[in-house]
Symmetry: D2
Subunit: 148 residues, 4 copies
């Protein structure tokens, strides 16, 4: 079934809302289900390289964070995920008015999850794949949970 | 000799100064020589994850951008470098007051350069390696150079 | 159209037939079309780790080589592809009687191609994804072509 | 101190001796110490690509396996390491009479170890770096140890 319970949905939404760096970039949570998550942002000048294209660091941030949220849809309460490593290929110039990332868990696990993220740029009516990442995340008990 | 000529130094400095996303993050150019570059930033709240640690996207941005600058110390006037792909391992929690990235060209090339970047976090007097990246960059003729 | 002309088909088949290391591993070409290729092997004891599982090096070889062949379906006569780098995630233990790799070009290019390879292990009737790789390849003129 | 106890040395040597795929490739254990390992092979025709160069899969196997052995120098009795993922950059053509891999643990851990491997090819008197890999390994209890 392509839905997550409301407790989990709130937890995933919070991964975006409570991260100051994501707020700085203007990233919005777009939706999630079991094993996937989507997010996006409106491209602003401060997202760019010297050459007017979106900086690879913005694409990497979207890809990594959305991957973490996708993995987060499959973990138990009291668990967290942390990125161990990721690899990203920059496939086309990042130009357009908005970006959208879709992350899909390739292999969930009790200790490690592997997630793939695709980042699309929308330029006018045209959306194209600009980056693809593979993200390995550790699943951990959140010892600091009570400390909030 | 561990120095670059002044034309090249200005070109590398400009890679940091003219990139709006780097200005947004507060990244400062710290120095460069043939095949290497260093940059850094003072950690602010807006660099962080929900868990108070520096976001992996910030570490990735520093690692990638500084790698591009290191590769840029070895190219000819009229050439540019573009990141093809990178992989980053997050080795320790990104905590501290400042970050420093040091990028070193592992293999220069006419078409492709491979660069390694290490990102260190300084927490009080202690500096520790928090991330390491390998970055593959394409060396290209900058067709738009006259258009500035 | 999901077919390649016969000249190209022969060229891709030769990528498997003429590589001594692939012959050593017993890799068979299974098929190709524009932008994809499949290969496989019957698992033998000499493919294994000390723990009786297929060695990651065998999975990596299949993934890389089949990716090269997939990229090879899209290049012009007189061009060759060379692996620049790849990343592979080992998702499940490599156990079973046979392996199959399917490679699909994610982004073709005049200078660089990015290909994804999935490696499946068949254990009895069950086939499962055991590894996934992303491979970056350079497209080059084959200067040595006349030398055969 | 740059030495490992004899129990550990034997365990690391066995990682090479007992792996049929490594025997197939003719890989020899060359030495190890706390956090590092070296191995090598004499290049034969069956290690090669169609173009007479050493196949990337051979380089990847050496890099990965030697990384596992390096991580293995730091684990406790009853633990094993398994490769989670690796990324390898192929820096120069793999030509020469012999290969040598040197793996060094970048970040040891109780659950995960990150290791870097450099592969060198020796052509006459000249040794050059032909590949560099970053390998992430899981540290696990070896439940099958008594079945050994």
């Amino acid at each position: 079934m392509d839905a997550v319970d409301s407790e989990r949905l709130q937890r995933v939404e919070a991964i975006f809302r409570k991260a100051p760096f994501l707020e700085n970039l203007g990233v919005k949570f777009l939706g999630c289900g079991p094993g996937w998550c989507e997010s996006g942002l409106q491209v602003q000048n401060y997202h760019k390289q010297q050459n007017r294209l979106v900086h690879a660091g913005v694409l990497a941030t979207l890809a990594d964070h959305t991957a973490g949220a996708a993995a987060g849809t499959l973990i138990a309460p009291g668990e967290i995920v942390l990125t161990v490593e990721f690899k990203i290929n920059l496939l086309r110039p990042g130009k357009g008015q908005s970006l959208r990332a879709r992350a899909q868990v390739l292999k969930p696990g009790r200790r490690l999850s592997v997630v793939e993220s695709e980042v699309f740029a929308k330029d006018g009516e045209q959306e194209s794949l600009v980056a693809k990442a593979t993200v390995t995340l550790a699943v951990l008990a959140d010892f600091k949970e009570d400390a909030g």
